[in-house]
């Protein structure tokens, strides 16, 4: 039973309001929660639910996403049979159009059901009980909801998915979502209400607010537990070094950091340096960024590989956190 699901992750979401966080990367590859990328959550959920064959449909630019996923080894998806499939498509529009270019993948699969998901939902979810419900209620398409709202994660039979792809021109449906949203459709639609922590990240504000919520222990422990771990690309960073003079409270800190300054109510990704007498508050600092000495950062999202030079002051607001682009250099002069 468990082996009988395929996973499809539609990673063709447009950057939209993800702004500068998605300039050089697919929204699926946006770093999140200290050491993950957004796609890690749905991908790990699939793996933890016993799904052994996952197809990712990406949209360019997808270098960052491909680099992250590699052979799928870190999700235990480097398999002789099944495993991880990366299926880019020259067709840009229409989920079914894109899938139609990779019918071989679906035709070669002997799984009976398919989970079709978006790529930016942050949750820790087991699809096995979802499939049980699907079978028990004789559904054609099941939609997972959260607090009654759609999550854009669906379960249907592979047979129906293939029919929908084949008949897309006659029916006018271009995606599973459009089928579900068509009230006139004769298919049996069910819903499954997911009760844990779930957020779908669509905007910079979603990104910031959801990140900060993870500093609350209850929310954190709804997302992370040892039985359904969230997998990600392994880096071999050493433990984080808190040097004399550092002062850290209420923070989520990844490995490989060297911290000399003050960090409060913030998220710090892997291999970040925070220099002496610097203050980081209500901020998110992504991997490998360097914060010099005597800096002040408040309500800032610092992307990867940013260098903040000594004495720089960067401030956003709770409503509009300041986003610093990947790889940029912020000096004391440009920031004041």
């Amino acid at each position: 039973m468990k082996k009988s699901m395929l996973g499809v992750i539609d990673a063709t979401m447009l950057p939209g309001e993800m702004g500068e966080l998605a300039i050089h990367r697919s929204p699926a590859a946006i770093p999140f929660a200290g050491r993950y990328r957004l796609i890690d959550f749905v991908l790990s959920n699939m793996v933890n639910s016993g799904i052994q064959s996952v197809a990712i449909f990406p949209r360019s630019p997808y270098r960052s996403l491909m680099d992250h996923l590699g052979s799928g080894k870190d999700w235990d998806l480097n398999r002789k049979r099944d495993g991880l499939f990366f299926l880019p498509s020259p067709t840009k529009e229409g989920q079914f159009n894109r899938m139609s270019e990779h019918l071989d993948y679906f035709n070669r699969s002997d799984q009976k059901y398919v989970v079709v998901s978006n790529c930016t939902t942050v949750a820790n979810m087991d699809f096995a009980p979802v499939l049980d419900r699907f079978i028990k209620q004789n559904c054609d398409i099941l939609e997972i909801t959260h607090k009654g709202e759609p999550t854009y994660i669906y379960l249907l039979s592979l047979e129906l998915l293939l029919d929908l792809i084949e008949q897309r021109n006659e029916t006018g449906y271009e995606s599973v979502q459009s089928v579900v949203e068509d009230a006139s459709s004769s298919l049996t639609k069910c819903q499954y209400e997911f009760e844990g922590f779930l957020k779908r990240i669509k905007t910079v504000d979603d990104y910031y607010q959801t990140s900060m919520q993870l500093l609350e222990k209850e929310k954190w422990s709804e997302l992370f537990n040892e039985f359904q771990p969230i997998y990600t690309k392994v880096k071999d960073e050493p433990p984080t070094n808190y040097l004399a003079g550092s002062h850290v409270t209420n923070a989520m800190i990844a490995n490989g950091c060297v911290i000399s300054g003050e960090v409060n109510h913030s998220i710090v990704f892997r291999a970040v340096n925070i220099g002496k007498n610097s203050i980081v508050k209500n901020s998110i600092i992504m991997q490998k960024s360097k914060i010099g000495e005597d800096c002040t950062l408040e309500y800032v999202i610092i992307d990867k590989d940013v260098s903040v030079e000594n004495g720089a002051v960067l401030r956003g607001t709770p409503e509009q956190p300041l986003v610093i682009k990947k790889g940029s250099v912020e000096s004391a002069v440009t920031s004041s």
């Binding site: 954190w220 992370f224 990600t232 071999d236």
Partner: protein
């Protein structure tokens, strides 16, 4: 099998009895170190970083944890089509099971493993030390000096020299004599237990050693002295840098504390010489609102709400609010209860320290806090003083 220039043989069967309960269920090379590593990560990472991709790991004592940790070697990028990591446990021959009776016999019994790669050189390593070293540089030195054997040595303080195997050399580093733990050392060059042998020479001497019933089958005690007696070219390779035997509870604790010392030269943050390990895959560490983290190393999966100072926290450790740790090493997944106090101690993995457990350490020793230790100190207020 394709030919390999150099094959490494890593002796990882040691019990490490002076590590007490730490090695009750696992071999010394599998003992956790430095917040996320095991001791064997250091020689294995050194091999990978030195471009030596054929490594036989000889296991014997309590191999379960070690074997499953090594797996197929992918954590160190040593899962190779040709070569890679091979775990070599003792095995039975038609007539008898042969345990590894000494370091030399362990290699002797795996001569067939080495033969299949037809190497020119064999590198012998042990899984007992913390250090970063480029074995390829040592191999270049060995080739340049046209030595039969090269032995890596490090200068140790004269007053400690009698604890080591000491190499006496001439001014060209030619080894003239080997003294195992000499009472009156005449040199302070200690053997690091790292040897490069010309394969043909090693094979010959291992066969000779095995047929000698009086031999204890040990490299330091038997094979090296036999080679010296036959006037082979043995040369010392002087190593400079951090190197520490972590064979006792105290030295293990000291080596962990060394990581917090900015002046010592074991840099775990060096990108070009990463120390690899099997990733525990836990979420980032959470430092709570009531936490105070001072001068410490903290690994992923930790939840710190108490105060830690000068301490090393392995993955998944929880320190509850009001708990205070000073100069402690806390092994994976241990939990320190609310209001507890511990100092100068190593806390065993998965141990739960009950609330308000106060263990003051006024001795010079390092406490190994285990289930048993806690039972012996049930009043929860313990002061360990100098005996």
């Amino acid at each position: 099998m394709a030919k390999q220039k150099c094959v490494a043989m890593l002796l990882a069967g040691g019990k490490g009895s002076r590590l007490k309960e730490l090695t009750e269920n696992l071999a010394k090379p599998a003992v956790p170190f430095g917040g996320k590593y095991r001791i064997i990560d250091f020689p294995l990472s050194n091999c990978a970083n030195s471009g030596i991709h054929t490594v036989g790991v000889l296991t014997q004592y309590q191999p379960l944890v070690l074997n499953s940790y090594i797996g197929i070697g992918s954590a160190w990028d040593l899962d190779r089509k040709n070569g890679g990591v091979t775990v070599l446990p003792p095995y039975s021959e038609s007539s008898e099971v042969k345990w590894y009776s000494g370091t030399a016999s362990a290699i002797y019994q795996n001569l067939n493993y080495i033969k299949q790669y037809d190497p020119e050189y064999v590198l012998i390593l042990s899984g007992d030390h913390i250090y970063k070293m480029n074995y390829d540089n040592m191999l270049d030195y060995h080739i340049e000096k046209q030595a039969d054997v090269t032995i890596s040595v490090i200068e140790v303080p004269w007053d400690e020299a009698s604890r080591f195997g000491i190499m006496n050399t001439d001014d060209q580093y030619n080894v003239t004599r080997f003294d195992e733990k000499p009472e009156k050392p005449e040199s302070n060059l200690a053997s690091m237990g790292i040897y490069i042998f010309k394969w043909s020479v090693l094979q010959k001497y291992l066969e000779m050693d095995e047929s000698n019933p009086d031999s204890s089958n040990d490299f330091g005690k038997d094979v090296i002295p036999a080679m010296l007696a036959d006037e082979l070219k043995l040369i010392a390779y002087p190593f400079k840098g951090y190197w520490k035997d972590v064979g006792t509870v105290k030295s293990l604790w000291e080596a962990n504390m060394d990581l917090l010392d900015a002046d010592q030269d074991l840099n775990l943050f060096e990108y070009s010489w990463r120390i690899y390990s099997v990733n525990p895959n836990q979420p980032p560490q959470i430092i709570g609102t009531t936490a105070e983290v001072k001068h410490s190393l903290v690994n992923e999966g930790c939840i710190i709400d108490g105060a830690i100072e000068q301490s090393v926290m392995f993955q998944g450790v929880e320190v509850e609010e009001g708990a205070v740790l000073k100069e402690c090493v806390v092994m994976p997944n241990a939990r320190i209860g609310r209001g507890s106090f511990l100092e100068r101690a190593i806390v065993m993995n998965d141990l739960e320290i009950p609330e308000n457990t106060v263990i003051r350490n006024e001795s010079k020793e390092i406490l190994l806090v285990t289930e048993e230790f806690l039972m012996q100190h049930t009043d929860q207020h313990t002061k360990v003083e100098e005996a």
